[in-house]
Each structure stands twice: as structure tokens, then as C-alpha cells.
């Protein structure tokens, strides 16, 4: 059984929570006690129908205000796949949550209200999904019941969105007309829309091909932890533990350790469950090397003929996530793969309007929920790939040095 991580985004009343509630309910991932508790609350509030949104809105403030305030994770499984949903709110002040949800997603599900069509938020969500390089984008045209299941409405939204998406970097785009409230095309194909010949939403999620989305070309292992048991049974064991974030490693492979640049070979790949023939993303393994080279946390194991960029001057798209604006000259803590370094902001080249994609080159700072192109310098060289090429070796987070709070996310540019 495969795992598919999906991120959802939608405006406050696009019916996103209802759609997820419906998906969970119809795929039988909702339990009777959860449903009873939702029915009870709906009755108390005097709702006309059971509000499935209450299944996902977990915090007190959310139930009181009828909004979603933070990323919530939901789980369901069908015989084909297990799904992890990162459910993110759509209000403008919570763009940071959308970036967060999309960072690990295989697929982003964007919802539009069939009566309203493409709105500013739809474009913003699609842009953020493409910025975070989510491989699959699925546009759900919801509330089809309120437009009499009219094909023309769906087609015109589809055309308008496809035209916009052609300006983005979206590898795979698909469309489904649904009614979350009525359950049309969510799990079963709907008899109300015979003109729609595609798969139901759930069927889409089960079928989308995700195996080729990972980087299996560039071998990369950021060292997390050096395993040295120092026991009488294993006095000299030395292994380098980490999660493979690119390519494939095998025993006998010639490898290079950065930053030392020393070349050696893989003596063996170990795991608690026995030797590993081939290590590939996202396996967590332990590599033993033939030569006794100096390797520590933060180092990177790659191949001599396939090395990442090594550098201290970085160029990145940064999503800013806190009230205090980002300005040139600011010092921040930066985490990239398994190392923390200090960074200083050198320049802000432009701020990108996430609704129009317009570049504002006069911008001299980034505010909360802004996205912009930034150059920075770090205290030690990083071993990185462009984010386009590798989402793990191409990303970093920024933390404030005084409060320790995560304040920004960066996607590195570099040679593709």
C-alpha cells in the first residue's frame, strides 16, 4: 500500500472542511462516536443538516467561529492507498499554513465555489502549490448542486484556470466537478452530472501516479547521527545514519563526503532489520564507509561525479511568516538538511504579488505572508541543489535568533 500526502486549500466558505468530512465519511474513515458528537453540536447550534465541517475543526475557537485556524492532519485509507491530508485554512493571514501544508504534499487540492468561479484566493493557492513544487494539482469545482449541475459553468471555470496555470510551473493538472454537501463525484460518480466522464475525486486520489515524483538521480545522504556503539561486541563500528533524500546508494558505490571532499566507497548499508541492498528516498539507513574518514553531523554523502552546489552565497525564494518584516542586514538562524548556520540577509530583489504574479522590484522588505526573492550569506558553506531539482536539499527554514520561532521558509535557486 502506498502513501499519498495531500494538502487542501480553499476559502472560508468554499466548503473545504465539508468536502474532507465527506471524503472521510463516505470512505468510512469517520467513526460513529465522531459522527454522534458532530450531530450533537450541529443540533445545539440549530443547523439544518449535520455540519461535516465540525469533523475537522478541532479547536474551541474554530468551533465557536466556524473557521479553521491552523493546519490539521487527517488520515484515511482505502484498499489502494493511505492518505494524509494537511487541511489548511484559506484566509489571507494564514498563507504561512498553506506553505507549510504544501511543503510535504504530493498533491494539492484547490477548491472553488462553482457560483463564484476563480477568485483571488484560487490563484494564490495554485501559485503557492507551484512555488512549493507540489507535483500534482487538482481543482475541485464545488457546490455544483447550486448551479444545477451545469456543464457550462464547470467548463468555463476549467478553461479560465487552465489559462492561469499555464503561467505556473505545474507538472500535472486535473479537474473534478463535485458537490461536497450532496456527495456528488466525491467517492462515487454522480448521476447528476452524466456529462462528466472523468473519475470521482477519491478514484483520482487513488490512481494518480506518484512513483516518479522523487529524485532518484542524484545520490544525497545528509548525515544526521554518527553511530558508535563502542561495546565489546562492536568496538570499532562506525556508521553514518541519515535519511536518503536523493538517488540510490549501494554497497561498493564510490562516494564522496562533503565538506572534506574525501572519496571512499560504501562498505555496507545497515538497518536494524538487516543489510540493505539499495537505499533510496525516503529510507532511513546507516552507511558504513571503507576508509576511516572524518564524518560528522551536517556532512553530506554524495557521488564524486554527482555533487551538489557548495556555497555560502545563496539565492532563494523566501516565504515570510511573521509580523516583524524581513530586511537587508537581518541576522537569522538557518536550518538546511541537518545543519544550523547563521545567515545575514544581503538583498531583497523583489516581492512577488501572489495574486497577480507581478514582481515589485521597489520592495525593500518582506512582510507577513509575503513571498520574495532574497539573497543571503551564511557562516558555513551549504551543500545544496536547486529546489526545482530536490525539495529536500533545496529547502531551508529561518528562525529568529531571539525568540527561536520559525519565521521563514526558503526555496533555493541554483543550477538545474
Amino acid at each position: 500500500m502506498e502513501l499519498l500526502r495531500l494538502a487542501t486549500a480553499g476559502s472560508v466558505d468554499d466548503g473545504k472542511s465539508t468536502l474532507i468530512g465527506r471524503l472521510l465519511f463516505d470512505s468510512k474513515a469517520i467513526f460513529e462516536d465522531q459522527l454522534e458528537s458532530v450531530e450533537r453540536v450541529s443540533r445545539q447550534r440549530g443547523d439544518e443538516y449535520t455540519d461535516l465541517a465540525l469533523l475537522t475543526d478541532g479547536l474551541r475557537a474554530e468551533r465557536e467561529q466556524g473557521i479553521t485556524i491552523d493546519v490539521a492532519y487527517r488520515y484515511f485509507a482505502t484498499p489502494a492507498r493511505k492518505f494524509i491530508i494537511a487541511d489548511t485554512p484559506g484566509h489571507i493571514q494564514y498563507t504561512r499554513n498553506m506553505v507549510t501544508g504544501n511543503s510535504t504534499a504530493d498533491l494539492t487540492l484547490v477548491l472553488v465555489d462553482a457560483r463564484k468561479g476563480i477568485v483571488e484566493q484560487t490563484r494564490r493557492h495554485a501559485f503557492l502549490a507551484s512555488l512549493l513544487r507540489v507535483p500534482h494539482l487538482l481543482l475541485c469545482v464545488n457546490k455544483m448542486d447550486l448551479v444545477d449541475y451545469d456543464r457550462e459553468v464547470f467548463e468555463s471555470i476549467r478553461e479560465e484556470f487552465a489559462a492561469f496555470a499555464s503561467r505556473l510551473d505545474v507538472a500535472d493538472l486535473s479537474f473534478v466537478p463535485v458537490s461536497a454537501l450532496q456527495g456528488d463525484n466525491v467517492v462515487q460518480r454522480s448521476a447528476n452530472m452524466p456529462w462528466y466522464e472523468g473519475a470521482s475525486l477519491l478514484h483520482h486520489l487513488e490512481q494518480i501516479y506518484i512513483s516518479s515524483d522523487r529524485n532518484l538521480i542524484d545520490p544525497r545522504l545528509p548525515v544526521q547521527w554518527v553511530v558508535r556503539p563502542q561495546t565489546t561486541a562492536q568496538p570499532d563500528y562506525r556508521g553514518y545514519a541519515g535519511q536518503v533524500v536523493g538517488g540510490v546508494f549501494k554497497a561498493g558505490d564510490e562516494v564522496m563526503v562533503l565538506p572534506s571532499g574525501l572519496a571512499t566507497t560504501v562498505a555496507g548499508i545497515d538497518s536494524f532489520d538487516g543489510p540493505v541492498d539499495e537505499a533510496f528516498p525516503p529510507m532511513s539507513v546507516t552507511l558504513r564507509l571503507t576508509d576511516d574518514v572524518d564524518v560528522s553531523r551536517g556532512d553530506l554523502i554524495c557521488r564524486p561525479l554527482n555533487q551538489p552546489t557548495v556555497g555560502q552565497d545563496l539565492d532563494a525564494m523566501v516565504a515570510w511568516m511573521t509580523e516583524r518584516p524581513l530586511r537587508p542586514g537581518d541576522f537569522l538562524a538557518l536550518k538546511h538538511t541537518t545543519r544550523w548556520v547563521r545567515a545575514v540577509i544581503r538583498d531583497i530583489h523583489y516581492r512577488l504579488d501572489v495574486n497577480t504574479l507581478h514582481r515589485d522590484e521597489s520592495a525593500s522588505s518582506l512582510g507577513l505572508n509575503d513571498v520574495g526573492r532574497v539573497s543571503l550569506r551564511v557562516t558555513q558553506p551549504l551543500f545544496y541543489d536547486s529546489y526545482r531539482r530536490n525539495r529536500q536539499t533545496g529547502s531551508f527554514i529561518l528562525a529568529a535568533e531571539d525568540t527561536n520561532v520559525t519565521v521563514g521558509a526558503g526555496m533555493l535557486h541554483g543550477p538545474d
Binding site: M1, E2, L3, F31, E32, D33, Q34, S37, V41, T56, D57, G58, L59, R60, R63, D70, V71, A72, Y73, R74, Y75, A77, R81, K82, I84, N97, T100, S103, T104, S211, R214, Q224, W225, V227, R228, P229, Q234, A241, G242, Q243, V248, D270, S271, F272, D273, E278, F280, P282, M283, S284, T286, K335, H336, Q392, F396, I397, A399, N404, T406, A409
Partner: protein
């Protein structure tokens, strides 16, 4: 039956291998970046799976941190015996934080009533132990599928010097880049099983042949019915007038205090039987068996804010 364990194709992990790899990654990050981590271990299935994952993360080295049990004094004796066996087999160090000692020293007061629950009191004992041992990272076995408030919590969850969780002010958590930075006196709760569901846990127990306390499996037991749950007869639970004891074939889906954990009628005697039973179940494990979550719509959220697990 497909346990989700076998590889699904070339260079493709099954979903269980996938979440296992991420959990191992989390253990290694914490061991590398924190000075004094500790793993909360109750002997319950989630904490046993956590311990297994920790063992995998550092193998062939030993787990580089101690385990801690917050002992309410109301635990099932079978679970305490299992806890000791398990910790000894792994060669791990066990720290026991006792709610009874917190009561005796006047840090907390026992709730009133015939069968007081010590569920809420555990929070003080836990926070005192974290301070005393200066633990800066605390692994917990909470899963996001268990409860709505837990569904919104980060994998690295910041706690201020009062141990409080602020759900509206959480750090964004992107990619696999976890931010464990904190000041002295603050700590991070770490939840390596965040993405695991109850079914995943049981599939893993089955495929890894993990040993669990016997009360998880079907057995005959003296029980009585209260608030729709089957509670066990024992020293901390006294019967009300209208309650009647009978013998039933039951098992436990969760393991908490004897005062608030209910059994379910079941004939599932092995982990494989339970996988089938859980897959068909129409009740969540906490809804079916935990009185502590039934206090209000936001019972878990309120306890978590105060520093609960």
C-alpha cells in the same frame, strides 16, 4: 492480508515503511540536537512501538536517552510488570515519576468522590519531573488520528516554562526541517507517531512481532457497565448500587488508568485478529474506551494547554 509492509515496487516504500523512516528520522534529529531527551513510556502499545522505533534509529548503538513513566498508582498491574520487563530487555534506563508522591508532598490534591481519577493530576507530576531532570525534549506517543486537538499539534511542539501548549501560536513546520530551538526552562514535546493511525500501530505490531501487555488481547475478566463502557473491577474502582459485576471476554484498545479505561468485548487473541477487528471498527479507540475524553467537546484541548501529554 496485506500488512502494508512489503515493498510495492522498485524504489517504492510501502506506507508503513514510509512512516517508519520518517519516525526514525525524527528520533535521530532529537538525539543530535537536544542535550537531555527522554521518552515517555507507559507500557501502552504506542509507547512500545515508539521504543521499537528508537531502537531502530540508533542500532547497533543503544538508545541514547532514558525512558520515563508517569505512574498514577492506578495502573493495571499487568502493564507495570510488562513495563519493567520491556525496559530491562532493552537495557534502557527507567525514571518513574509518581503521582502518589506528588499527592503526598502536597503538590496536588486528590479529587473528591468515590473513585477519583488521577488523570488530570499527572500533568503536575510530569512537569515537575521534566524540571527536576532538566529534560529538554520529551517524546510522546500521541497520534493525530486519536483526537481533534491532537490533529492540530506539530511533531515538534513547543512548551513554555510553564509547560503550556498554545494552539494558536505554533511554529510552522515545513519539509523535514524540525525546529527544536528553545531557551533554558522551555522544552519541546516530540511526537514521532504523529502520522500513525491505530490500524498502522496494529499492523506494525503484527508484522514486527512486537510484544505487548496481555490485556490488549482477548481474555476473561470481571467487569461492570458504566456510562456505556466496560470497567474492570479493582482496588481503585468501587461499584455503585445499580452496577452489577459479570464475566466477559474482553480486551483493551487503550491502556490508561483502571478508573477511566474501558474494555471492549472481543475475541481477538492475536495482533492479526486485532488488525481485522480495528479495520472493521466503527468507533474510535478513545471514544469507545476513554472516560477522560468525554468531559467536554474540548476536554483534550484543555488538558493539553495545561501541559498534558
Amino acid at each position: 492480508m496485506d500488512r502494508g509492509r512489503g515493498a510495492v515496487g522498485q524504489y517504492q516504500l510501502s506506507q508503513l515503511q514510509n512512516i517508519e523512516a520518517r519516525s526514525v528520522h525524527i528520533f535521530r534529529e532529537v538525539a543530535a540536537e537536544f542535550e537531555r531527551p527522554v521518552l515517555l513510556f507507559s507500557g501502552g502499545k504506542d509507547s512500545v512501538v515508539m521504543l521499537q522505533l528508537a531502537q531502530k534509529a540508533f542500532w547497533p548503538g543503544r538508545i541514547p536517552f532514558p525512558v520515563m513513566h508517569v505512574d498514577t498508582g492506578h495502573n493495571f498491574p499487568e502493564v507495570l510488570a510488562f513495563r519493567d520487563r520491556c525496559v530491562e530487555a532493552m537495557g534502557a534506563t527507567l525514571v518513574v515519576a509518581s503521582v502518589q508522591e506528588s499527592i503526598d508532598s502536597g503538590r496536588v490534591a486528590e479529587e473528591g468522590g468515590a473513585n477519583p481519577s488521577r488523570n488530570r493530576l499527572q500533568t503536575r507530576t510530569l512537569l515537575d519531573a521534566i524540571n527536576e531532570h532538566r529534560f529538554d525534549a520529551v517524546f510522546g506517543g500521541a497520534r493525530r488520528d486519536e483526537e481533534k486537538a491532537r490533529a492540530k499539534e506539530r511533531i515538534f511542539s513547543f512548551r513554555d516554562e510553564f509547560g503550556q501548549w498554545d494552539p494558536k501560536n505554533q511554529r510552522p513546520e515545513l519539509w523535514s526541517l524540525f525546529n527544536g530551538r528553545h531557551r533554558a526552562g522551555e522544552h519541546i514535546r516530540v511526537f514521532p507517531l504523529s502520522d500513525w493511525t491505530e490500524l498502522d500501530i496494529w499492523q506494525y505490531v503484527a508484522s514486527e512481532q512486537i510484544d505487548l501487555p496481555p490485556i490488549y488481547y482477548s481474555h476473561r475478566r470481571q467487569v461492570f457497565r458504566r456510562d456505556g463502557m466496560l470497567l474492570s473491577v479493582g482496588p481503585h474502582v468501587s461499584l455503585r448500587e445499580d452496577e452489577e459485576v459479570f464475566e466477559a471476554t474482553v480486551r483493551y484498545r487503550t491502556v490508561g488508568d483502571m478508573t477511566c479505561t474501558g474494555a471492549v468485548e472481543s475475541s481477538a487473541a492475536t495482533a492479526d485478529d486485532i488488525v481485522i477487528e480495528v479495520a472493521a471498527s466503527r468507533l474510535t479507540e478513545r471514544g469507545a474506551t476513554r472516560a477522560d475524553d468525554r468531559v467536554s467537546e474540548a476536554a483534550m484541548e484543555d488538558r493539553k494547554r495545561e501541559g498534558y501529554f
